[in-house]
Symmetry: C2
Subunit: 337 residues, 2 copies
């Protein structure tokens, strides 16, 4: 029998906690017998949610944590003060080997701070980046870093490229993933100071398939598998993706309702249209791992519903089975040695 | 009678030069009797294009320029060496008062370099930003800077906000335009070093309506009229806008062709759909002015067709009639004094 992957889940984090979080956990264990979920949060409300469902009882545990870190709290202060918050309790479980992974839809800042301060970085990793999968015309690309480390240095970006490659190859299953750096032109001499310094380092870096610069225009085309950038730019890309997709979709819907003829057309076309648009919905791809921490930390969208929570939990199994952190460790050690 | 606005147009720049450029110039003078266009480029080919059309002859002149600056040439070198290129000749006309404005679909780098080196900055302006209008749910917003000055300083961003406000108020006609700085969160303490330094300066800056940070997600919603950011980020926003819109649109079209039912629906819905999507086409809004130069310099898209060229030329009239540069000059002088 395969070993169980133990995933601690922040039952109190996100816009739809605890309802959707608990439901996502239930759906995950119903789908996979190799997952053990520990729901961390206010026991009473978690248990009353759990009572709504039928599921294999031995696959879900509840761990009490009385405090909640709010979205607006300063992350580092919150992590230090709220020792009995769901995030701190769950991260300590990962740190002490009681859980293999942690999934949260709560405060991004707190998850990032906790990843560094509680779970800790793999030796040799300078800065753990947040790396979501974003939809493209042909599939998905990994965007590293999308918000963890503003004002990064060139050496950080090189590690992002290395860790991103390992993730795309072993978790997503893309052989020899193409790595590109976000730039404002395709030529090597273009860019800001950070990109100009990083470019030659990426060119020299062994073990990655660096294909050069990528302009933002080419990202939705799927022109690279691992898209490297510093966190401010990555965050702008991720947020604009969300904003522009939803604005375009609502504009299109409004447009389709503008004439009687188009309304009839819309009714006929809607199922196909919905399917298409769904493929461009970033939330379908589970959570964003914080790469390079000693245990797996996955941040899922604040607005995550059960489906995204379930996907994020299941993603932890692949990550764990593929022993991604061992691969990152070996890779970085060999670089240093 | 109103005075004519004299617009020098780079007849050799862009993917569709000289055909579409000449056609755009012809369309502009047919639409407006207050514009005089000087087509700058290789005389023979420009004249043979012009010969195709009927138009008020007294409103178009041709000025010979034998050289062409290619897209791939290093901009500053090209501007210095190719003294008889269409860009250099036309910019010298603006410098010497023979033209009020310059429109080019050619090399962005060369236009930016020429704007600074030949036309020159208004006294007090540290860096002229490139400021395109981008489509939103409700209209348009001005994105400054979208590619002119990477690694900008806080004082540059403050001037971008001031010049952008003047432009939106007097050229686009938005009273008391809302100014926001692109950030990775809505709170004042968020951001990278540049944004954190710039934020308090914008708060203190008189004469602008600063509303705080804007996350990229809110840009397509039209949450601000003037969107301030440094050039690398602005370029990423602009390019992703283009890339994501066109990818989504092609994905939607493909989706609509996937079933017989949806094909019929698509046929009925297509006219309304096209109209909607057109409102999200950035090229419809003319060119991007390089704000803060002594004469008006407008960069239009490399793939510009006649319609965008025409719009860019007509835009120069509003700019000139509203005496935008005088307003910038007064505003900056009063800041310094």
């Amino acid at each position: 029998m395969k070993e169980m992957v133990r995933v601690a889940v922040d039952a109190m984090g996100g816009d739809h906690a605890p309802e959707e979080i608990v439901r996502g956990a239930v759906d995950a264990v119903k789908e996979r017998s190799d997952i053990m979920v520990i729901l961390v949060g206010q026991e009473e409300s978690v248990n009353s949610e759990l009572a709504k469902y039928e599921y294999p009882k031995e696959q879900i545990e509840v761990r009490n944590a009385t405090e909640i870190i709010e979205m607006a709290e300063p992350p580092v202060v919150a992590i230090r003060r709220k020792k009995d918050s769901s995030i701190v309790v769950a991260m300590n479980m990962v740190k002490h080997g009681e859980a293999d992974a942690f999934v949260s839809a709560g405060s991004t800042g707190a998850v990032l701070a906790g990843g560094q301060l509680i779970v800790g970085r793999i030796k040799g990793i300078e800065r753990p980046p947040l790396a979501p999968l974003i939809p493209t015309k042909n599939g998905v690309s990994l965007l590293v870093d999308c918000g963890a480390n503003v004002d990064a240095r060139p050496s950080h970006l090189v590690q992002f490229a290395q860790m991103g490659s390992i993730y795309m190859e072993h978790v997503v299953g893309i052989k020899n993933p193409r790595v590109a750096i976000v730039n404002i032109g395709a030529e090597e001499e273009k860019g800001n100071a950070l990109v100009k310094e990083t470019f030659p380092l990426l060119k020299e870096c062994e073990g990655i398939n660096f294909i050069g610069s990528i302009e933002a225009r080419e990202i939705p085309n799927g022109a690279a598998d691992v898209i490297v950038c510093e966190a401010f730019v990555g965050n702008v890309i991720l947020k604009l993706y969300e904003g522009l997709s939803s604005t375009l979709i609502s504009t299109i819907k409004k447009g389709l309702m503008s004439t009687v003829k188009s309304k009839i057309g819309a009714a006929l076309a809607l199922p196909a249209l919905k399917k298409t648009l769904k493929s461009f919905d970033a939330s379908a791809y589970g959570g964003a791992p914080l790469l390079g921490c000693k245990g797996l930390v996955v941040k899922t969208h604040g607005s995550a519903k059960a489906i995204e929570v379930k996907n994020s939990i299941i993603q932890c199994v692949t990550f764990s089975e593929q022993a991604i952190n061992d691969k990152i460790r070996e890779n970085i050690l060999s670089e240093e040695g």
